[in-house]
Amino acid sequence: MHAPRNSERSRRGRVPGLSGRAAEPLPPPAGKSPPAAPYALTFLLGALAAALACRAEQEPRFEPSVEPRRVVSLAPNLTEIVFALGAGRSLVGVSEYSDYPPEARAIPRVGGLEVSAEKVASLRPDLVLATREGNAPGPVSALSSAGFSVLVLPTGSLDAVLDSVRRTGDALGRREQAERLAESLSARRAAVRALVGKGPRPKAILLVWPDPPQAAGGGTFLDDVLTEAGAENLVRNRPGWPVVSGEYLTAAPVEVLVLPASAANRPAFERALTSGGLSRGAARRARVVWVDESAITRPGPRVFDALEKLARELHPETEHGTGNTEHAR
């Protein structure tokens, strides 16, 4: 092969890029590994700063002062308690879902699951009522840090409801009414316990949502209600709100399905019962007890009504049922 002549070659110029790829930087020899001290230090400092921030915000402490005249309730059950104590007129703001009693519907809204702290602030409340389990902690602590009187109430069990009633009564300056109400509710619970007695406890599951099937597990408020009503909660060993699998529902020895229904979710439950996850196996054979969702899921005075009804439905042998059950489908 003849090489091209020298002069032609220099005239052709070079093809750019042929001089080689940009070489990759080489790693130097393994030297000492990078010092860990800066990382450790920053981590410690970070943890310290965050811990300090947390310290500065304990759960809001409440000091009762004069009888409050402008009350904001951040949860529907607390609204009901305030009304039950006869202080409904002092409410200047309520949470979105406060629809009972009917007078509550006219009160200005301050937000739903996440309340608007500034809306609350603009109402100039001298008392803010919040729940520990139901309200997002952020706005609550923001209000507390800004100097508002915030009372955080427990709602995890029936005892907690009674406690909330008493503490709200204290805060509202209606201690006597609160004590009376708490006593009467407590007495009704005692009556239910007597009714249920040592009788059989049907195995039950309370589903808060049909699809995917989500049940009330151990340690929840609804678990407490179910147990007091004389049933054995099959998913008690699972804390919180476990999603139970379809297989479980077909195979577990469930005798009763307790379904808290509202206008909004009843169609979804019906679908699940006829053709969905609740239409097979053990779930199909189980007895369905419908309960009023807004009464039973709100840790307030009405839950004791719901408790009584549920106890009667679960134990028809002690009294005549009210025809609210279904045997076959």
Binding site: P25, P27, P28, P29, A30, G31, K32, S33, P34, P38, Y39, T42, F43, G46, A47, A49, A50, A51, L52, A53, C54, A56, E57, Q58, E59, R109, V110, G111, G112, L113, E114, V115, S116, A117, E118, K119, A121, S122, L123, R124, E133, G134, A136, P137, G138, P139, S141, A142, L143, S145, A146, G147, T220, G240, W241, P242, V243
Partner: protein, 324 residues
């Protein structure tokens, strides 16, 4: 191209911040006007003052968080010589989310969240840095990949945690993952401030070196920079800023990516100007976004991350289209 004087650029950014701050104080679920604020007594005025007392720490937190994220983003873009670098690429967001989620599910008081989130952020940064180490050096290409992997892993863990969380916990987590300034308190602002200050100080000292990195890592080495030390310092500072921001405000995207981009278009890429301008512009942007999040569906509040995503995603798409 003319580079505007540094002082003019900083002054302009500050004005933006002041405006945004004012908007943040006046605008929201409850609209206020200046007369309301300054007037004497009366319930309207008192109510206005109460609302402002609630908003002030919130605007302060938004500004600090926005500054931290924008600054971290600008520094990383220079260090990695990549205009698409984002503070969350380092895996800090995923780690922080998992930290906070685990704390919430384990039943700790929600006030523990910031510490847990910060711990998660630091842990994931360290893991990512370890993955990217190659023969004693911090390999910047592997850093990007390692960050992606870390985020993917943490997302999976997070979904698992979500599936066992109770309703309220899950909802709070969701809000946090989209960025939430709802629990802004003066204590949190004060806790974040030292981080922001430390981050700013360190990065300001490295600004000239970052200019060299922006041309190339080899370029910086050839001009006398100790590249390994610089990489580590900038990485740690950026991780700190990001971790602290996420710990107190949740995951807020797009700020770290787009604010430096926009600032660069206006003031050029000299880090000595770009870093402070990005920080101030980021503060302004987030304060404004927070005001928007409080007013669009009042009295409900959007998570601020949703607002930044809603603005940021189209802007980002437009940038991509424009550059092709």
């Amino acid at each position: 191209m003319r580079a505007p004087r540094r002082t003019a650029a900083l002054a302009g950014a500050f004005v933006l911040l002041l405006l945004a701050g004012l908007v943040g104080l006046l605008v929201g679920g409850v609209h206020l006007s200046l007369p309301d604020l300054v007037a004497g007594g009366g319930p309207a005025s008192e109510s206005a003052r109460l609302v402002v007392s609630l908003r002030a720490p919130r605007v302060g937190l938004a500004a600090l968080v926005g500054a931290c994220l924008a600054l971290a983003g600008a520094a990383l873009q220079a260090l990695l010589k990549n205009p698409l670098a984002d503070p969350f690429l380092l895996g800090t967001s995923g780690g922080a989310a998992v930290g906070a989620a685990l704390a919430a599910v384990a039943g700790f008081s929600p006030f523990v969240s910031p510490a847990a989130a910060f711990a998660g952020a630091v842990a994931s940064s360290l893991t990512v840095a370890a993955l990217a180490r190659r023969g004693g050096r911090l390999d910047l290409q592997r850093l990007l990949l390692a960050g992606l992997i870390a985020n993917a892993f943490f997302s999976a863990v997070l979904l698992g945690v979500f599936s066992v969380a109770s309703g309220q916990t899950a909802r709070t987590m969701l809000f946090w993952m989209m960025g939430s300034l709802a629990d802004a308190t003066p204590a949190r602002v004060l806790a974040l401030a030292p981080y922001a200050a430390a981050g700013f100080g360190v990065l300001a000292a490295f600004a000239a070196r970052l200019n060299l990195f922006a041309v190339g890592e080899e370029n910086a080495a050839a001009l006398g920079v100790d590249v390994e030390t610089s990489k580590r310092v900038v990485f740690v500072a950026a991780s700190l800023l990001t971790g602290a921001a996420v710990a107190f405000a949740g995951i807020i995207g797009f700020v770290g990516l787009l604010v430096p981009h926009a600032a660069r278009a206006v003031v050029g890429n000299d880090q000595r100007t770009l870093l402070p301008v990005s920080a101030i512009a980021g503060a302004a942007l987030l304060a404004a976004a927070d005001a928007a999040s409080r007013s669009v569906f009042a009295p409900a509040e959007l998570p601020v991350g949703a607002v930044t995503a809603a603005i940021g995603a189209p802007v980002f798409a437009w940038l991509l289209l424009r550059s092709s």
